[in-house]
Every structure is written in C-alpha cells, then in structure tokens.
C-alpha cells in the first residue's frame, strides 16, 4: 500500500465524518443521535463529526425503517458519499423494520435499500450504544488495515 493511501486510511479511521439521515424514524433515535454528539457523551473524542453534506461524510447514520417514499432518496444520498463509505443502522427499526415491519408504506430495515456495515439495536438506542457500535466498527477497520500493510 502506498504511503498516501495509508495516510488517508489512518485519517479515516482516526476521524470519520458522519451524516445523519432520518429514513422514517419516529424521532426518538434522532434525539439520541443528537445527544451522542453533545459534549456530555462526546463522540468527537473519536474524531467523529456530524457534517451537513453527504459528500463530506464517510459514515451514514440512518435512523428509522425505510419508507417506500424515502427509499430512492436514501439511495441517492448513499450514492453521493465518496468511497469507501459505511452505513450504520441506528435503532431497532433501522435494523429490521421494527414495529413498522409489514406496514403498507414501509419497505423494511435499512439493509432492504442499501448495504449496512453495522447494526445498532435499541428502542431508542442509547447514545452509549451508538458510540460503542461506531467504535467497534472503527476497530474492525483498523484491524483489517493492519493486515494490508
């Protein structure tokens, strides 16, 4: 691996930027995601910042089941992110569809629309769970990078 690639990978693991996208959530998980980025829980100690544009982001934090109306929009947001990109399904509904599974307006979990890297269950998820999930994903990334050296 070239030095420049290693440097980019190091930067990505040390400071992944996230974007939050509500795909049809009841808002509870959104509140917990917002809580997770506050100084009390301090997601920024992992270098994680929530950005305003998907083009700047490495990590897509999706909350809620995928509604049929939002499905194409979710795919479009996902397509706008630069490779390599990671998707976190935040909350029970995002993992499986949850209580909304089988509704006429709901497609199912996030993985029905786009590939998911980590599933963080909870209704709503605690900020600690979000931090734990994201930290575990970063750790697996780091380990996979070590093998490539």
């Amino acid at each position: 691996m070239k030095l420049s690639e290693r440097l980019v990978n190091w930067a990505r693991i040390k400071s992944p930027w996230a974007i939050h996208f509500n795909t049809g959530s009841c808002n509870a998980c959104d509140i917990e995601i917002v809580a997770a980025i506050t100084p009390r829980f301090d997601l920024e100690r992992f270098g994680i910042q929530v950005k305003g544009a998907p083009r700047h982001a490495d990590l897509l934090l999706c909350s809620g089941p995928v509604t049929r109306q939002i499905e194409t929009r979710l795919k479009r947001i996902h397509d706008q992110m630069a490779e390599p990109k990671f998707v976190a399904a935040v909350g029970s509904c995002a993992c499986t569809g949850g209580v909304f599974r089988g509704c006429y307006n709901v497609k199912g979990g996030i993985d029905q629309a786009i590939p998911v890297s980590i599933y963080i269950p909870g209704c709503p998820v605690r900020p600690e769970a979000i931090i734990d999930g994201v930290a575990k994903m970063l750790k697996t990334l780091e380990e996979s990078q070590k093998g490539k050296k």
């Binding site: 509604t67 049929r68 109306q69 499905e71 194409t72 006429y104 307006n105």
Partner: protein, 160 residues
C-alpha cells in the same frame, strides 16, 4: 359567558331544521353528539351545522370500510367544546362524495387522504398532488380497505 347549549337543545335544533333526522341523533355523552345522515342530505345538514349552529372547527374526517359501503365521519366542533360527529355512507361501487374544502379550505388534506387510502371519489377538489401514499403506488390499491393485501406491493417491483 352565556349558558352553554345543552346536547338535548342541539338535538332539538337539528330535528327542528331537518325532520328526517328524527331518531338519527344520538347523544353519546356530554359534549359528544352523533348524527346519521343520508349522503343526499349530508351537504345541507353539514352546511347548516357549520354556518348556523356554530360548528366552526373541523377536527378531522374519519374514513371507514363498512363492508358494502364506505363510511365517512365528519367531526366538527363549536367554540364551547361540543363535538358533532356527522356519519354518512357511500356505496363502495360508487363512493362519490362532494368536497367540503369550499367551507373548510384546510379540509382538502383529509379528503386527499380519503382518496388515497380508501378510494373515495371527491368531486370539486382543487387540483393538486396526491397525498399521502408514495410515488409509484399501484393504481386501484387502497391500503385502509379491509380487503387490501400488502403482497401486491412487492410484486410490483422497485419502488412499488
């Protein structure tokens, strides 16, 4: 403030204005009055209730699948907190109703829901987008009717 109109007074007022409502007005409890009306006479009763009996607030419109018929309940309230629930039926074969959006402009959103979710035909509605089902929803499928089968959605493929 003047004394509140009682439910019985309201019932008497309705029956006096429309003799066909005799026996069709039911006082469910305090401040909750139900009335069953024919579709043909719905409009004049609704208009009178709004314009002359002081029911100036449209709370919501409920849609129902009642077997052979579609049911519509118009929940209207007056300033004193009395709610008048006007229930009418339209046959499923031709569920045509007239819009009330000329009286309550904001009511069009409820009527668009009746169109999308129950397949009602509302005449006199201003042109506008469908609401609230997603784009690409299959024609002729009404999710809140009892015979709706969600299997048709995934058979239609992408986005359907």
């Amino acid at each position: 403030m003047s004394k509140r109109r009682t439910e019985e007074e309201l019932k008497a007022e309705l029956v006096a204005a429309f003799p066909e409502l005799e026996g069709k007005v039911r006082v469910a409890r305090e401040r909750r009055v139900w009335v069953e009306v024919e579709l043909a006479s719905f409009r004049k009763i609704f208009e009178r209730a709004v314009k002359e009996l002081g029911f100036s607030i449209l709370c919501i419109i409920t849609g129902l699948d009642e077997g052979e018929n579609l049911g519509f309940i118009y929940h209207i309230a007056d300033q004193g907190g009395t709610m008048l629930n006007i229930h009418t039926l339209a046959p499923k074969a031709d569920p045509s109703i007239r819009t009330i959006s000329d009286i309550f402009p904001a009511g069009h959103i409820y009527e668009r829901e009746l169109i999308d979710l129950f397949g009602a035909k509302v005449s006199g509605l201003a042109p506008g987008n469908r609401y609230p089902l997603p784009d690409g929803w299959p024609e002729g499928q009404y999710p809140l009717r009892k015979d709706f089968n969600p299997a048709v959605l995934d058979a239609g493929g992408e986005g359907a």
